[in-house]
């Protein structure tokens, strides 16, 4: 079952804040930021086994900031984030990964990348057979497998 109550309100606010720092919205590419409500909802709904490490990462972040990251002056956040990325270890890596894995399955983001927002199965993909004459030089070369005797 998705664990939607794993993070406190303060942790959720900081998650939104850091997610926007990782991937901000872009008008140029017509994509939302990772703080987009739908993406945040996906993250919270699917934290599952990652919830504990993500909470640890967010608490670490707040400690580094001396307050909730969301309350810190935006100009001061970069320094906190540099330390967090350098010292955050597995919890920080997990937090970043859950943000990325939910962002890059969002329909709007995938469409912007020219990808179909769907599961691979059952449609699959079509692959070009390719130019097998590329093998001709290999066939023409005097290769031989190592002999045993």
């Amino acid at each position: 079952m998705p664990d939607q109550t794993a993070l406190t309100p303060r942790q959720c606010r900081d998650l939104r804040t850091i997610a926007a720092m990782i991937i901000p919205a872009s008008e140029e590419y017509r994509v939302p930021g990772a703080d987009d409500p739908a993406i945040q909802a996906d993250i919270l709904a699917t934290l599952g086994r990652d919830a504990k490490l993500v909470a640890t990462a967010l608490d670490h972040l707040a400690r580094l900031a001396g307050m909730p990251l969301a309350d810190l002056d935006p100009a001061a956040r970069d320094g906190v984030i540099m330390t967090f990325r350098a010292e955050g270890g597995a919890p920080a890596a997990t937090l970043v990964r859950v943000v990325l894995q939910c962002y890059y399955r969002d329909d709007r983001v995938l469409r912007s990348l020219g990808l179909e927002p769907r599961a691979p199965f059952p449609k699959g993909h079509v692959l070009e057979d390719g130019d097998w004459s590329l093998l001709d030089p290999v066939k023409a070369r005097a290769h031989a497998m190592r002999q045993v005797s």
Binding site: Q101, Y104, R105, R118, P122, D131, L135
Partner: protein, 532 residues
């Protein structure tokens, strides 16, 4: 107590399935105990929108991360290469890349040819009929005639070159180096009830289409129809012995966690190069105080992984990304010994088509090439769908200090001591990896790749678990004889990768299964005097 069976097989993966199928024709009562369950393809990751995310959780390649009830923990803290596997009917064939090279004839004569390690007690030619039978049952695709690989006759055509293949091929041709379409067990045509590959792309964590040959959909249906009994969710704790020093059966925990004793006249272990020594060491008794079948002291020793040297970069052209099976071409250019390279033996190369968007983002962020902030989008579009990879499978040589033992603390969910891995990469392997990375860089740069990144070794790359119950003719320097029977316990056989004497420089599953079929054939030929 359960009724005795003629043959008890432990493990329903690559080798257990093959040996069960082969022995079925004897009409003996054959039972296989498997700690996992049948998998449901409808639940496989590629059926859902979270297909990539699941790779980081319950579909991780690492049993320690995955943590399914069917898994057992492995203490691999003291190893730069972590063990990866899968526990289910089909074993790790449910979760492999389906790359299907064979060991070369020269791999069986390493001592004679290169003066290192040991020769095998069998040769390549002995295994040829079993390789061929195995290829037919698993269903292989490929192109016959590779001048640098053993001759094969895949019944299906090779995978398409796609977008990535020609980029690699042109670079290799420019360098004058060998490449060839890989033999794989991905069905490229409808084959014996399996639907053809439709390029789901996320092949490693199980194929929802059923195009990838895992033994739950190849060997097992045949074996069960032929009368083999397969009991799932049965985890074997130990093999018991009688007053004559023969295996008498096994103690296992059934699906309800109830301890059971299963008597058997013959026991066959097919638990892979970590699970097999774990079981033998857990079967220590007054008669066999150092573990079962361990008079040589070699059970668990000589563990060989294949250290993977991986290098990848990004080209301007689009690659196949996640829209195809991950590997389609190999190279044997650097497979054989050339001492001018500074190391003995060699490596195979497999070329990797690319990655999906989540994997690309996560890995590139970790590598520091995908920034946070405003430039994230521009850089991601340069990386995503443009990756080209080269992975070298480096031949590991046997060293006794690389070993599997029992962890004094860690236990599985049934309280059975877990395996502990102590492993270091040898100087020879390290030089081989450096050589492979340098050649990989040449290949990628010739293909026009930039932003080149390295994973060497691939940390979670311990797929190939070999050598921990090696075969040989001398009981003092091997665990099983030249046809898989324990030197010490005359009704105990091992058929998995544990029996490898050396590792070669290729994915081993094809050879593991050929050996399992060969051992089964030897048993059938010797039924009248199997225990002499």
């Amino acid at each position: 107590m359960n009724d005795p069976v003629d043959v008890l097989i432990i493990g329903a993966g690559a080798s257990g399935a093959a040996v069960a199928w082969s022995l079925a024709e004897t009409k003996m009562h054959i039972l296989c105990l498997e700690q996992g369950d049948w998998m449901k393809p409808a639940d496989y990751p590629s059926t859902g929108r979270d297909w990539e995310a699941r790779f980081y959780g319950e579909w991780s390649t690492s049993p320690n991360i995955r943590g399914r009830p069917e898994d057992y923990p492995i203490n691999d803290d003291n190893s730069p290469i972590k063990v990866v596997n899968f526990n289910a009917v089909g074993g790790s064939t449910v979760m492999y890349t389906a790359h299907w090279p064979r060991l070369h004839p020269s791999d069986f004569r390493v001592k004679t040819l290169d003066g290192v390690a040991d020769d095998w007690p069998i040769d390549y030619d002995t295994l040829v009929p079993f390789f061929e039978e195995n290829d037919r049952i698993m269903g292989t695709s490929g192109l016959s005639g590779d001048p640098l690989s053993p001759l094969t006759h895949p019944p299906m055509p090779p995978q398409p070159l796609g977008l990535s293949g020609p980029l690699v091929a042109k670079a290799m041709n420019k360098l004058g180096w060998h490449w060839w379409p890989s033999d794989t067990t991905v069905a490229t045509a409808d084959y014996e009830g399996r639907a053809r590959c439709i390029n789901l792309g996320h092949c490693t964590p199980a194929c929802a289409q059923g195009a990838k040959a895992s033994t739950d959909i190849t060997y097992w249906p045949h074996a069960i129809r032929a009368g083999v009994e397969l009991r799932t969710h049965c985890r074997v704790r130990e093999i018991t012995t009688d007053e004559n020093g023969m295996a008498s059966g096994v103690v296992y925990y059934d699906k309800d966690g109830v301890e059971q004793f299963q008597p058997a006249h013959v026991v066959i272990i097919a638990c892979n190069g970590v699970g097999t020594p774990r079981l033998l060491l857990n079967s220590a008794s007054g008669r066999f105080p150092n573990g079962l079948a361990n008079s040589s002291g070699l059970v668990g020793k000589n563990l060989m992984f294949h250290p993977y040297a991986q290098i990848y970069g990004y080209v301007a052209e689009p690659t196949d990304s996640n829209r195809a099976p991950p590997t389609c071409l190999w190279s044997k250019e650097f497979y054989d010994t050339d001492l001018t390279r500074g190391f003995v033996r060699g490596y195979g190369i497999q070329f990797v088509r690319g990655a999906g968007p989540v994997f690309e983002a996560v890995v590139s962020e970790q590598k520091g090439i995908l920034p946070w902030g405003a430039d994230h989008h521009r850089i991601f579009r340069k990386l995503n769908g443009h990756r080209l990879g080269v992975s070298a499978i480096c031949e590991d040589l046997p060293e006794e200090h690389n070993r599997v033992t029992l962890d004094p603390v860690l236990k599985d969910s049934h309280g059975i001591p877990a395996p502990r891995i102590d492993y270091t990469i040898s100087e020879n392997s390290r030089k081989m990896m450096e050589h492979a990375l340098a050649r990989g860089r040449e290949i990628l740069e010739t293909a026009g790749a930039t932003d080149i990144c390295v994973n060497s070794p691939i940390p979670w790359g311990g797929w190939h678990l070999l050598g921990t119950a090696r075969m040989g003719t001398d009981p003092e320097s091997s665990v099983v004889n030249e046809w898989g029977r324990s030197h010490d316990v005359k009704n105990l056989f091992i058929v998995d990768g544990s029996v490898f004497v050396t590792s070669g420089g290729v994915n081993p599953t094809s050879t593991i299964q050929a050996i399992a079929l060969y051992v089964a054939d030897q048993m059938k030929q010797r039924l009248a005097n199997l225990f002499d």
